[in-house]
Symmetry: C2
Subunit: 203 residues, 2 copies
């Protein structure tokens, strides 16, 4: 309790923002989980979800334009997401509405990455890249490299190349490398070759 | 970058929630400031504001019921807030949408408190009480006591009574106390008297 004049400097700078933010996030979470005044239906491959045009439009330029222009999405208030299952799409909404749980994110991060790329969700994309960088292993490095290439994730690509050639794990995936070279983009295989040339020297 | 198996324990526990929350708050802030798909108009005493039914309904049971029951607010998608100016009401929306600035809160906290009480915004109310407790002074203690009484703010009331009688500041407001006793609620004056009896002793 202050005991001096009312002109005293504000003692809890930032306190209000903190309380307001927390309360706002709780509010938004209820909007999603209790379907409060939802005005858009999302059709996934195996189920339907309800959401808010305002939230989707504010987070994604792609959703935004769907509702602005006279596309069928605007008229029907329905979005077809034909390449996501309801569980992955719930995770996507969870990210957007701030309710996502860590294990849910972890489980669906590849699907989230694809959706983030498609709908222009920069923060989701960055978060997925960061996460995929964390647990590169011999079992997934070639798949990750492909993903990095597909979605233009420079840091992830560099991470995979370093894993293979700087840390020398290329020997762990020797059996798979031939199949990979047969199917991977030529530009990517060229880049891998250049990486070898730049970090390896003849004995 | 992980160099071992993909079964490693998640290294950045909570990272995703943090990123998602921040991104969600930015999203919600844009919804308000850029009036993205607003669907409700708020009439204040001196201006009009735009907001979202879903957000208002999620934060306040009073707003929620306005849009559920067949009240005029539902039909017209308009809320009349005839006891708030546009600036105070902006601060209220700012709290709800998580965009409020500290000085804005500080300036409008009495109006916010009245609105929080009216619309059942528990967190706004608690935040206002906390703030009003911070800078009790001789110049405002009687007004604060009245406010505490009006909105059933027990902590603020106790703070004011302690300021007056425990810290002995009652002498600073001697000139005003007579006017206060003429207009204040009888229950409140009784409580003040009991406070004196409980903390003061005859010399």
């Amino acid at each position: 309790m202050g005991t001096e004049s009312s002109s005293s400097i504000w003692p809890n700078e930032g306190m209000v923002q903190g309380v307001a933010s927390k309360s706002t996030l709780g509010c938004l979470s209820r909007m999603l989980t209790e379907s409060i005044h939802t005005d858009v239906t999302i059709n996934t491959t195996d189920g339907v979800l309800k959401a808010h045009k305002s939230v989707l439009a504010a987070c994604s330029p792609v959703f935004e334009s769907m509702f602005i222009h006279d596309l069928k999405e605007k008229e029907s208030s329905t979005i077809d997401i034909g390449d996501m299952c309801v569980e992955s799409c719930s995770a996507l909404l969870g990210f957007v509405y701030g309710t996502i749980r860590q294990e849910q994110f972890w489980k669906h991060r590849l699907a989230l990455l694809a959706a983030a790329n498609k709908y222009g969700l920069g923060e989701v994309k960055a978060c997925c890249e960061e996460s995929l960088l964390e647990d590169i292993s011999s079992g997934n490095v070639l798949e990750r490299l492909h993903v990095a290439w597909l979605y233009q994730l420079e840091r992830l690509k560099k991470g995979c190349l370093a894993y293979l050639f700087v840390f020398g794990k290329i020997y762990d995936v020797r059996d798979e490398i031939s199949g990979f070279f047969h199917h991977a983009d030529r530009e990517l295989t060229l880049e891998m070759f250049q990486e070898v040339l730049s970090v390896w020297k003849p004995i």
